[in-house]
Amino acid sequence: MANWTVDSPQRLTLDEPVTRLDVRLVTGRLNVVASDGPARVDITRVSRRPVVVEHRDGRLFVGHERHPRWPGFLWWLGQLGRRFRAEVSVAVPADVLADLHLVDGSLVVSGLRRDTRVDVTSGQVTLMGLRGQTMAKVISGPVEALGVAGDLDLETVSGELILADSAPDRVRAHAVSGSITCDLDNPRGSEIRLSAISGSITVRVREDSDLTVHLHTTSGRITSGFPLVGGGSGFGSIKDSHGVIGSGGGKLWASATSGSIALLARPVEDAADREELP
């Protein structure tokens, strides 16, 4: 067991293994990167409230001594938030269970393979190369993800959700006023559920997908790049489109209230092309 109270920039290296990572920060930057070597905590900025690092029974905790009870409220007060400003980077083995909370600021996670939970109130979330179960929740701000596989759950109120070049088995994305953009190299039988209230939904799936498709929008329009999925029919402005791509093994469900939906076909290079071309 080890404890540090850090009140100036400092770099810590942990000799004992880490299996769980819990971070509770108020404002600033948080970076979590998977790495082969020993776990490291790199604190590059601290303000008046020191950062506490605890390592006990494989659980690594990074946070403040007395976390404000109503972080969102305190953050709005501004002045108090500034006392908690910190910039922390953590390198941990790829198979840790990570639970990351940040009230305000930017958060980067890369390379984790098991179970990652991200909760940011206001700020931006960047996810790269994650596997396993990933859950990211932001109230205000975007979630940008690249090369993510496994199970993915994304939620934002007033930001955009963008998922680039990813092959997840299951995606659930919900946005209220932002748009959703997904480019999926989806495996067969994947399950994709996208919903937006006032934003639009753009989703591109492999042209050789097996999906049962259901698209619905109350006042937007539907564009489909697949001949078997139509532009939708319904009463007045309501558009509802059902269709099947390939054998229909997986599921794609997208619903937008006032936004439009575009379903596009992603060209698939055959194996030989993939060997030789970028």
Binding site: R29, N31, V33, A34, S35, D36, R40, D42, T44, E87, S89, V90, A91, S106, V108, S110, G111, T126, L127, M128, G129, E144, A145, L146, G147, I162, A164, D165, T181, D183, T202, R204, T223, S224, G225, G231, A262, L264, P267, A271, R274, E275, E276, L277, P278
Partner: protein, 205 residues
């Protein structure tokens, strides 16, 4: 991040990875990705031409196994590695340094993801526009596979391009067969062609 791999250092590192045992291209990409904590994941278009060049130079060989090429280092490749051991050590320490500073690394990850995301949004917006247009007035020919703003098949410029391309092939192969060239000259010519192809790919993608 890619700055670490300037001046043929990626080539050297590929040799080093193959020195640990035979691997196929995809494995090499994964290993590089792991070494750079997921940040640097070179595309197949970066790796395969380099492997081909290494093969032309006789430093690696490949065997086809289950439809995939498995690359293996040759004795000449090992000799090259021994000769450039110092350079390799510097490269290793540069790589370690580049992943040492976690917050800089995270900054790179952020800009990498941001860049990809921005490109994707632009590409999909264009694809959606084309799909929508295609929906209302189906074009006589299917758009090209990558859906870019391809010229019409009948365009005179495209015809001229096809003609030039054919003439190029004919003339170059005639030149190569006419003059009795040494292997080195031929290899240089091959490298030149690879370079030109790389440039065109970059231009046209």
């Amino acid at each position: 991040m890619t700055a670490v791999f300037s001046h043929g250092r990626l080539r050297l590192y590929l040799l080093k990875l193959l020195d640990d045992g035979p691997k196929h291209g995809y494995e090499l990409i994964r290993l590089l990705e792991d070494r750079f904590l997921g940040l640097y994941a070179p595309s197949a278009g970066t790796i395969y031409p380099r492997l081909q060049r290494l093969e032309v130079e006789g430093l690696v060989t490949h065997t086809a196994a289950g439809g995939r090429k498995v690359y293996e280092i040759t004795e000449a490749g090992r000799a090259e590695l021994r000769q450039r051991a110092d350079e390799l050590a510097t490269l290793e320490s540069d790589i370690s340094a580049s992943v040492e500073d976690l917050s800089a690394l995270a900054g790179e990850i952020r800009s990498e993801v941001r860049g990809s995301v921005r490109d994707l949004k632009r590409e999909l917006r264009e694809a959606a526009r084309q799909t929508r247009r295609g929906h209302w007035e189906p074009p006589p020919t299917r758009p090209t596979a990558n859906g870019g703003p391809a010229a019409h098949a009948e365009s005179p410029v495209l015809a001229e391009f096809d003609q030039r391309l054919a003439a190029f092939t004919v003339e170059v192969s005639a030149l190569v067969r006419a003059g009795r060239l040494t292997d080195t000259q031929l290899r240089t010519a091959i490298r030149l062609l690879d370079g030109a192809l790389d440039g065109l790919r970059r231009l046209l993608r």
